[in-house]
């Protein structure tokens, strides 16, 4: 009896030892691999770090400008190249639907504001245009008189500008597009 159980235990121990040895061996291999991968990661990180510096160096504005001038013929964006989507002429299918649509003409030289549109309606500006406040300093009646004709062409401040074609209000500052980009 004693013999048999001893043999059994011995066999179990031997089995455990073998399995343990194999697992340990495997772990050692994996650890070696891990160290290698980690070293590689570190190397890659270093390379990325250096490449980032090089990227920044190659992106010197002076260099980009020179390259753009030489190869692309680019030049700084000018004010005349910027307009609003809502200043585009009406689409053909809108003709007839809105009488005003036909009257809207493409600005001759540069995009300009349609009549009745004022920067005073810019969303970020307060409802009462700030700068106008100085138009009514203190007392003088002369002031008011003098200011009246000047204000007139500028705006009808309370009227929200409306796209004559679609009939929806013009978003004044949000829809900036560069015509060059289209």
């Amino acid at each position: 009896m004693i013999r048999l159980s001893s043999l059994l235990w011995l066999g179990a121990a031997g089995l455990a030892a073998t399995v343990l040895f194999q697992v340990k061996d495997e772990v050692q291999d994996l650890e070696g691999e891990l160290v290698g991968v980690q070293r590689e990661i570190q190397r890659d990180r270093e390379a990325i770090h250096v490449l980032k510096a090089e990227w920044s160096y190659l992106n010197r504005p002076a260099r980009i400008e020179e390259l753009a001038r030489r190869h692309l013929g680019f030049q700084p964006l000018e004010q005349t190249q910027i307009s609003l989507v809502d200043y585009l002429p009406a689409r053909p299918e809108d003709f007839g639907r809105n009488a005003e649509a036909e009257r809207l003409i493409v600005p001759p030289r540069r995009p300009s504001m349609p009549a009745g549109l004022s920067l005073a309606a810019t969303p970020e500006a307060p409802p009462q245009p700030k700068i106008k406040q100085k138009a009514k300093p203190a007392s003088q009646a002369v002031t008011a008189k003098a200011s009246a004709p000047k204000k007139a062409p500028a705006t009808a401040p309370s009227a929200v500008p409306v796209n004559p074609v679609t009939g929806r209000p013009l978003p004044v500052s949000s829809t900036l597009v560069s015509t060059g980009a289209q």
Binding site: R45, A53, P61, Q79, S112, P129
Partner: protein
């Protein structure tokens, strides 16, 4: 129970009750007294120890079961890497611009050192080493290699090619030390802001010095408020302006009018921070923050703002500017003399010294001091850089000082102070704190109110007038409603008094004037008149075009909507009652 068998029954044991147990029987010894107590203690100890060990084994067993059979939640699925963060750990953090472009970074390099005691033949080693390091003189190498020490730096920060060459020589006694070296990809473009470090990566100037502990302590990059593109534009335009008028130096600033963030700051001549030792002292000097200058007529912005804000004058008032003002031994005249009365807008537009002095005198010295102090012009500005100049103000503020300071003479401030004060005047009257660090998104804008909102409106209109009709016409950038004020100040002669031929031409502007977003200041030191400028070297000829061109180029980058001029101009119009006199604004 404690039993013991004995082979020699020489005594007759008795039970505790006195029964004779007989001679030849197995007998039980019942111990009494101290012996029994000792045994009992021993037994108890054994039981306790056994229990402790049983518990310990139980814990170990349970833990084993837990580890082997049950999934441990806290066990990481992946083995830990040496550093958890994504970026490479370096000894000094990066410095970035507001868009994330690298302005300063740390690159790994190797440095060569020698143990001269291990070098058998210094002469031969020096000759061979000189072939690998052509930049080092042979004699210097030999001297180092024959030193009686066990450590000497041969060369630090070798290029990879040099490293390979030295390795190929295979000279024993030479060793490489892995080191880190600071590198500035944009070189001279940002040198006055970023600064530089010494070979041991200690910050010696600029933000490198100001944030030395933070940069060394963490891997977190430092994000500046600088926009590299704007910096480039300003630097290029300033350089062009300086060269066109043969100036000896120039400074310029672009500041966010609301938050006080400095988007660009240029001081010319500049230097290469990758090789700071080669820079002349003139190049190292930061004119934008360390230099203090008499800004000239730019101060009329502050004088006029003060007079309007305190109610001393209104836009409808005016002064007789026919007669020069004589006080003590000075005579204050106008650059372009006028006859008769000028309205306040005209005085500002034509940059009349006489009119401005009248305004300042009517306001009084105390008021002037209070307003200038409020605008931060009398004390050193709070800026992160270590190179910040203290303004030069008169020790005793007499009436003559009040007069000259009103048009920017007799007080010297740094350009950054002037730009900040202009920002405070045009942005609605709240003076922002100047900063070189990017403000976190959504952080409330601080600042102190210095003038009323209405005064700020009026000043904006006046400054727009200067560009539209006055001395600053060259600053016009179509569609962006630039407004500003020119300034031309004679420089002080070393012996005292003013030099007539040496001056500082400046322009302080902001745009767009209906809702100012950015303040642009340009200043050229000692410009000389050219044929193209008809011999003039004033702010309007020298500095105003720099600002105009800078705005023209930077505004589209910053997403500023170009405004068709007419409606906004009408908005900016202020009617003036001149009681029959000439009118500035038609």
């Amino acid at each position: 129970m404690f039993r013991r068998q004995s082979a020699k029954p020489t005594i007759r044991p008795r039970t505790p009750c006195g029964h004779d147990l007989g001679p030849n029987r197995d007998w039980i010894v019942e111990l009494e007294g101290t012996a029994k107590a000792a045994l009992e203690t021993g037994r108890t100890r054994l039981i306790v120890a056994g229990l402790v060990f049983a518990c310990a084994f139980l814990v170990v067993g349970l833990r084993l079961v837990g580890i082997v059979l049950l999934q441990d939640v806290e066990e990481p699925r992946l083995a830990a890497t040496p550093s958890g963060s994504e970026a490479l750990e370096t000894g000094r953090a990066e410095i970035l611009d507001r868009n994330g472009q690298v302005l300063a970074t740390t690159l790994p390099t190797s440095s060569l050192y020698a143990n001269p005691r291990h070098i058998t033949n210094p002469e031969e080693a020096a000759v061979r080493l000189a072939t690998a390091l052509p930049s080092e003189p042979k004699a210097k190498l030999l001297a180092k290699l024959s030193a009686d020490r066990s450590f000497v730096w041969m060369k630090r920060g070798l290029t990879p090619r040099e490293t390979a060459a030295v390795n190929r020589l295979g000279i024993p006694g030479l060793y490489f030390q892995r080191e880190e070296r600071r590198f500035y990809p944009h070189g001279a473009l940002t040198s006055h802001i970023v600064g530089f470090t010494n070979i041991d990566n200690k910050g010696l100037a600029g933000m490198e010095q100001a944030f030395n502990p933070q940069l060394r302590g963490s891997n977190q990059p430092l994000r500046l408020s600088i926009d590299l593109r704007i910096q480039h534009i300003l630097s290029e335009e300033l350089l062009a302006g300086m060269q066109a008028f043969n100036g000896i130096g120039a400074a310029g600033l672009v500041m966010d009018a609301r938050s006080g963030e400095v988007l660009a700051m240029v001081s010319l001549p500049s230097y290469d921070p990758n090789n700071p030792a080669a820079a002349p002292d003139a190049g190292r000097f930061n004119r934008a923050t360390l230099g203090v200058y008499e800004m000239g007529s730019i101060f009329k912005i502050f004088t006029t703002a003060m007079a309007l804000d305190s109610g001393v004058v209104t836009l409808e008032d005016g002064y007789d500017v026919t007669k020069p003002i004589r006080i003590a031994r000075f005579t204050i005249t106008d650059f372009h003399p006028h006859r008769g009365w000028l309205s306040i807008p005209e005085i500002f537009k034509e940059s009349s010294n006489i009119g401005t002095v009248h305004m300042a005198v009517d306001s009084g010295t105390e008021l002037q001091k209070r307003y200038l102090a409020g605008l931060g012009l009398l004390s050193a500005p709070k800026l992160e850089l270590p190179e910040v100049g203290e303004p030069m103000i008169p020790a005793k503020w007499r009436e003559i000082n009040t007069m000259t300071i009103s048009y920017g003479h007799g007080i010297a401030v740094t350009p950054v102070q002037a730009a900040r004060a202009v920002a405070g005047v045009v942005n609605g009257g709240v003076l922002p704190e100047a900063t070189l660090l990017k403000r976190p998104e959504g952080e409330p804008l601080g600042g102190t109110r210095v003038i009323g909102e209405r005064t700020s409106d009026q000043m904006r209109w006046l400054m727009r007038l200067v560009v539209e009709q006055g001395t600053g016409g060259n600053a016009e950038a179509e569609g962006y409603l630039v407004g500003g004020k020119t300034g031309t100040a004679d420089k002080l002669r070393p012996g005292g008094g003013y030099a007539r031929d040496k001056r500082i031409a400046s322009f302080a502007g902001a745009f767009p004037m209906n809702d100012p977003r950015y303040v642009v200041l340009a200043m050229v030191d000692e410009p000389k008149g050219t044929k193209a400028s008809y011999g003039y070297a004033t702010g309007g000829w020298v500095a105003a075009p720099v600002v105009g061109k800078t705005v023209q180029r930077m505004a589209p980058l910053l997403g500023i909507e170009p405004a068709p001029s007419a409606p906004v101009q009408n908005e900016l119009l202020v009617p003036v009652n001149l009681r029959g006199r000439a009118v500035a604004a038609q």
